[in-house]
Symmetry: C3
Subunit: 259 residues, 3 copies
């Protein structure tokens, strides 16, 4: 389970050196990629590499996620996946596998609230701007492209409504640093909790701009205080600002205050 969501770094799953180096990345989340960054021919090799790497996942300072190849995506599949995960958890005696669905197609945008609320395992929605624009056959333009606005603006609303966070899409032009800063600020102002990252050099900027906001700090303080009182009385889940608060939220709140 992830407590912080400021930065999600994609690590190509076919590169053993990058997979190893990710151990000490100062990011909140690393995501071993089996999808776009791995050529078809290397998928098999990458799958084995990631499988082996995951055995050492306790040695990773960031939280570890894996970006799988897309099944024929959609809600129904998400519920199938849920079942598969549960049986795998039992079989392999692991616990607490979490999900972060990518919203990177027009159909995903239409259904993003339903997707975000389809499983208790979901921590976040990750917005994928390039795949979305490609799905809509829109040429990417730098900045805050008009054709992605409806979707980019909707995703954090849907995520909040479902009680999860939203992580913004990547910024591709590593050389255009002021463009990157601006893009982070746009994401922040839209309610994203963090940003997808394609290079370690971007992490510092991301953490600076996605530093907890005042409303987050106030929320986190409330949650910590109310939850502690509630557990002292022997109760678990409680209510803050009219919403159910359990251990997941408590840990997230604590992590926010510890930054």
């Amino acid at each position: 389970m992830s407590n912080l969501f400021r930065s999600l770094v994609f690590v190509p799953g076919n590169n053993p050196r990058f997979l190893a180096k990710a151990k000490s990345l100062p990011a909140d989340i690393v995501c071993f990629d089996l999808e776009d960054s791995v050529p078809d021919k290397e998928k098999k090799k990458a799958r084995v590499l990631i499988k082996n790497t995951l055995k050492q996942r306790n040695k990773y300072s960031p939280d570890v996620f894996v970006r799988t190849n897309s099944p024929e995506s959609g809600l129904i599949e998400l519920k199938k996946i849920e079942k598969t995960i549960l049986s795998l958890e039992k079989k392999r005696k692991i616990k607490g596998i979490r999900l972060m669905p990518s919203i990177e197609s027009a159909l995903g945008v239409v259904n993003c609230y339903e997707i975000a609320s389809s499983s208790k395992r979901i921590d976040a929605l990750v917005f994928g701007i390039f795949d979305l624009l490609n799905d809509m056959r829109i040429e990417y333009t730098k900045g805050n492209p008009r054709g992605a606005k409806y979707s980019r603006y909707k995703v954090p609303v849907a995520a909040t409504a479902a009680g999860v966070v939203a992580i913004d899409g990547i910024w591709q032009d590593l050389k255009d640093k002021s463009g990157f800063v601006k893009d982070c600020q746009v994401g922040r102002s839209l309610g994203y909790a963090g940003k997808s990252v394609i290079h370690p050099d971007q992490i510092k900027t991301v953490h600076k701009i996605f530093h907890p906001s005042k409303p987050e700090i106030i929320w986190a303080k409330k949650v910590c205080s109310v939850y502690k009182k509630s557990t002292k009385k022997g109760k678990g889940a409680t209510v803050v600002e009219g919403k159910m608060i359990d251990e997941v939220h408590y840990k997230r709140a604590k992590a926010l205050l510890e930054i």
Copy 2:
């Protein structure tokens, strides 16, 4: 039932002087507030004050609404409330209690069309920008904040689709009058019929900017003419521009033409 929706003034429910003064406010709607503007300690007192004030509601020049404390909100509750209202109307021999749900959370935004069309008692959706931004943990910035755009732009579409009007959120900075004017114009251009108001000084500006638009005037004239013909023939409800028109719409249309 409200016929005009240009201005909705919030009146703190714990202040007897303000409640009394609201009688002669030149606003379309006054809303006795039991929620944000009343501290927890004073809720009980405010409830009694409002109860007594409501006995004189016929002496109020604006329409009178009450902003209740939020129950654990949602659609289901709205239908429960509907039942409660009906039984109260029978018991206390009052008629025509109307509702104006506030859309002030991400979940409310997701469901705003369903909310707007969940009861025949609903006159309007009221957009609550500060609570929404707080729900999304976005710091408020003056103007037309980016993080609220998706929601602020969606609400009037959902309201229109459900056959009700939309009332825009408040402007907090009483000193920044040009900012206020601009904010009213933004709301107007988005299709809001009026604006929430926190100080009587704001009413005049609001009424000026939310003066009936040309399409409203044209619609109102059509409705009045068609409805009069229909009632002469002994029929009630009729159709204008493909939509059902009944007495509610006729009164609203007449009021628009009388401004």
Copy 3:
């Protein structure tokens, strides 16, 4: 069935000369109008004119559509229409009648994804900005009016999600050519495949700006190559980028490459 959707020219259905001239218009689609451009008194005459014109529809260089008078619109009706069309096709021995629903009311915007995916006959959603603004009682302002943004931005997302294209609304001011160019560019950047046109002079500009984008060309090449292989093996439908591809898509892809 339409293969290209760059330009949709409305032709008043009560004007025999315009109906005849439309034969050789260099547009992708002509749409014989029975709705807004035909006064009530001429509807009957127009219906007969269009009926006779349709007998020569094979002589038309653009694809031919008819814009009917709105029934009390909505999804349910769309399914009724589907049945009527099927029985008409059988009775009159015609094939392949296609639909392009107009999204021109707030209720249409709320339901645009459901509408777009309600029938296999649907080729495109057509956005109607003037009727929408009128429905929302917003006065039209030139450019990209704020009150239509939510809707105009949502329609191509919903269309893409349903696997159909979106055609942008009209530009009314024939004299303001730079305004028209800009409006076409806005539509293009939002993912619209083409634009509604009220005068033949607009066609050239529209075709220039809605020239296939790079992602469209790449998609079209993939579809053609994969579909040819698939049919060689005796299979029909196949999958490209995770989506079902059949003859409809193949023809569209081929047409895009032939521009």
